[in-house]
């Protein structure tokens, strides 16, 4: 049996192609070895003006038949010759030559066409709706059930003659969730003013506190009761995560608020806050984009705005053109995604549509 093996002379070959989607300074070299175990060394040389430069040597593995090497730092448009020298166990030497290969540059990265298509399509719809919103056109957004829960909570809290506690979380003024929490605060403050009750807002960040004071005062003014607005109820507590949680727990136990709102970005301290709030029997409405904290809020609070519902709620309340148009643009993209998934899965299941399915899958291949 092994007699036949020896007859099979080792075949070694290689192929030099342009490195795809680059600035033209690289070439790809692919080497094929039929019997890698009978090879001692493999050398590749690049010929430049009669001078041979050896490329980095490659390590040979007994069972690996194919090797990929990249020759870098060469000139775009110049033609190069490559020589492959393979030394085998029985002292034979195989030489192969490939001449005048020219590295080319690509103007557009073909593998990234899918990103460009999506970017253009998505930007178009975002700014199409922004234009409409800025012209004052009415863009439909469904009412978020959470908003009714907010009004109801404030109502029941004031019936019991107890104040409302509003927590904006640990985010900074630049966090989207904190901005959404502030616009919901505006609505709650207005409701509280209408019911002639009090609202307490302990803050984690001085800048967010200043914004909260501004928005609460505006809420009282919109309800026609600027006299009821108490600036001292909106104060800076501390900038330490657990110190803040302990401080707010103390306020809950002292003031015994009827309704507590957690609207903003939260970290692990959400647990400590929601638990004490539940234990004093307050109605709790939460809202955050922090997915790791949502399970605790959902289990401990009466109602929770999940992630993007917060943005939809604040857009519904403020009718701010920027927020509303963003949600409309995102909705279009989500609709296209849902359609794409339905069509894609169907094509993937029908045998006769398989080449269309493969076309889609290749289009979505990123590297």
């Amino acid at each position: 049996m092994n007699f036949i093996l020896i007859l099979f002379a080792l075949t070694a070959n290689f192929e030099v192609t342009d490195y795809p989607n680059d600035s033209g300074d690289k070439l790809n070299i692919k080497i094929f070895l039929s019997h890698p175990d009978s090879v001692i060394s493999v050398k590749v040389f690049r010929e430049e003006e009669k001078e041979l430069r050896e490329l980095e040597p490659i390590k040979i593995f007994p069972e690996q038949k194919e090797y990929l090497l990249t020759d870098k730092g060469i000139d775009r448009g110049r033609s190069y010759n490559y020589i492959l020298e393979v030394e085998t166990v029985d002292g034979k030497k195989i030489r192969k030559i490939i001449s005048d290969v020219v590295p080319k540059a690509e103007l557009f990265h073909k593998k990234r066409l899918n990103v460009l298509v999506f970017l253009i399509f998505y930007s178009f719809f975002l700014f199409f709706y922004l234009g409409k919103a800025r012209k004052g056109e009415e863009l439909f957004l469904r009412k978020i059930p959470g908003l009714d829960a907010i009004d109801e909570a404030v109502g029941r809290s004031t019936e019991m003659g107890r104040p409302v506690l509003y927590i904006l979380g640990l985010g900074y003024i630049s966090d989207i969730a904190t901005l959404a929490g502030l616009s919901i605060l505006g609505r709650v403050a207005k409701k509280v003013a209408q019911y002639e009750s009090d609202i307490i807002v302990p803050c984690f960040d001085p800048i967010v506190m200043a914004a909260a004071q501004e928005i609460t005062k505006q809420g009282y003014m919109e309800a026609g009761r600027p006299d009821l607005y108490k600036e001292k109820n909106i104060f800076f507590l501390t900038q330490d995560q657990f110190g803040y949680a302990a401080g707010v727990d103390g306020i809950m136990l002292r003031e015994k608020p009827g309704a507590i709102f957690f609207q903003g970005y939260f970290y692990a301290e959400s647990l400590i806050l929601a638990e004490t709030g539940y234990s004093i029997g307050a109605i709790q409405i939460a809202g955050t984009t922090a997915t790791t904290q949502l399970p605790f809020f959902i289990a401990a609070c009466d109602y929770t705005l999940i992630g993007e519902e917060m943005f939809a709620a604040s857009a519904y309340l403020t009718r701010d053109p920027l927020m509303v148009s963003t949600i409309k643009g995102e909705d279009i993209a989500k609709m296209v995604f849902m359609g794409f998934i339905v069509l894609g899965t169907i094509f993937g299941s029908l045998p006769f549509a398989s080449n269309l399915y493969n076309l889609i899958m290749n289009f979505l291949q990123t590297f």
Binding site: S23, G24, K72, T291, F296, A299, A300, G307, E308, F311
Partner: protein, 224 residues
């Protein structure tokens, strides 16, 4: 002048990064050993991002310095804070100069790290083990369908992912061997995966919209 130029800078730097993503040609992409615009901008971005790490420190020190000057009841803690900033810094610089690398095993900085910083930070978060138990007991009620589903799924994953759950359930259904760990693994692999994907797509869409508005100067809050 103070508002327009920053917006132009944001526009140019953002656009060049996006263009360089699509066009590998020099000057956007690098050619031989001439760095392209993308590689050079990223290098500068790395340097500058390091400086944003320390931006909050002046407000921190100013806040605690004010508390000390006012002589509030929490003043001693603020003193402890400011003193610990300077001691840590001094120990760090000393170790860096003496050993050439502050993380050298046995250096004073590593002493501070191993015996003061690590216990403080890890114990801070170890508190949560207690709070999650008390919150589970005092606040997690199956008050409606949604909360009930959440608690059932939580129980399956909790018991399925610890050794205790390995042999509580052992049944064969339609040729499949059903155990608690397999149920927990399935909950994580399919329903959890599908929802996390839905949320991931929503968050990505929101992030892209925000970034587009920043580059085109519609969103200016970061300049406040």
């Amino acid at each position: 002048m103070k508002r327009e130029v920053p917006l132009i800078i944001t526009f140019l730097s953002g656009i060049i990064i996006i263009i360089a993503f699509f066009i590998p040609l020099y000057p956007f992409g690098s050619y031989k050993n001439f760095p392209g615009l993308q590689d050079r901008f990223l290098q500068w971005y790395n340097i500058l991002l390091g400086f944003t790490l320390i931006l909050g420190i002046d407000t921190l020190i100013a806040y605690h310095w004010k508390k000390i000057k006012e002589g509030s009841k929490d003043a001693p803690y603020s003193i402890a804070l400011i003193v610990s900033i300077f001691i840590t810094l001094a120990v760090g610089i000393f170790s860096w100069v003496k050993y050439g690398d502050p993380f050298k095993a046995g250096s004073p900085f590593m002493f501070y790290y191993d015996y003061i910083f690590v216990p403080l930070q890890s114990t801070m978060f170890a508190l949560l083990a207690f709070f999650i138990a008390s919150a589970a007991y005092r606040a997690f009620r199956a008050r409606n369908l949604e909360a009930t589903l959440l608690l059932i799924a939580a129980a399956f994953v909790m018991i399925g992912r610890v050794p205790a759950g390995d042999n509580i359930l052992n049944i064969y259904l339609f040729g499949y061997h059903i155990t608690l760990p397999k149920i927990a693994a399935w909950i994580l692999d399919t329903p959890n995966m599908a929802v996390q994907r839905g949320i991931l797509i929503g968050v990505a869409l929101g992030g892209i919209a925000m970034s587009l508005r920043i580059i085109l100067g519609i969103e200016k809050t970061y300049l406040s």
